[in-house]
Amino acid sequence: MATNNEMLTPREAARLIGVSYPSIKQWILTGKLKTVQTPGGHHRIAQSNLKPFLEKDKAKPTIASRERFRRVSGRNQLAGKVVSIRIEGLLAEVILAVGDTNVTAIITANAARELQLKKGDTAAALIKSTDVMIERLD
């Protein structure tokens, strides 16, 4: 399972939950948002600490996830926010927070650059329904 605890800078966190950078700074100063500090004294926020704020962000009107990008035939379009990007050689690993879970995508490094993906960006994961397997839980 993809790790659910990426560390984000205050600026990335602000983009992720849709508030301004000064608001995030204020929340850190007042203790509303817990952070860990780097050896250099910079704040880093764990993705899991942003969950309650993401819930509130969801309350804003959004387009139904399957109707978001109707130009493509793919049945599964999961809208989420980019929480991690790692580009290495030819490939890139992009992790998207979708609701309570993370979705990992491996795309080419060129595709990641072309999309100009950054942490906090809104993007959708697109999965052909024939590529989806079902595992029974017992």
Binding site: R66, V103, L117, A123, A124, I127, D131, M133, I134, R136
Partner: protein, 68 residues
Amino acid sequence: MTISARNQLPGRVEEILLGQIMAHVTVRVGDNLIESVITRRSVDALQLKTGDEVKVVVKSTEVMLQKD
């Protein structure tokens, strides 16, 4: 069972449409509905019914990304 696939999303079966050879299974994962097309044989082998707790499994190389 351990599977290497990076994406394993827990959900509940909401609808199963059976065809002659294939079956269309819709799973609710949080607020999202995920559609899966698997063989009818698999549905029978797994004895899938609506309301069952399942995991939706997707290899990360099968996931495309789209930006507005």
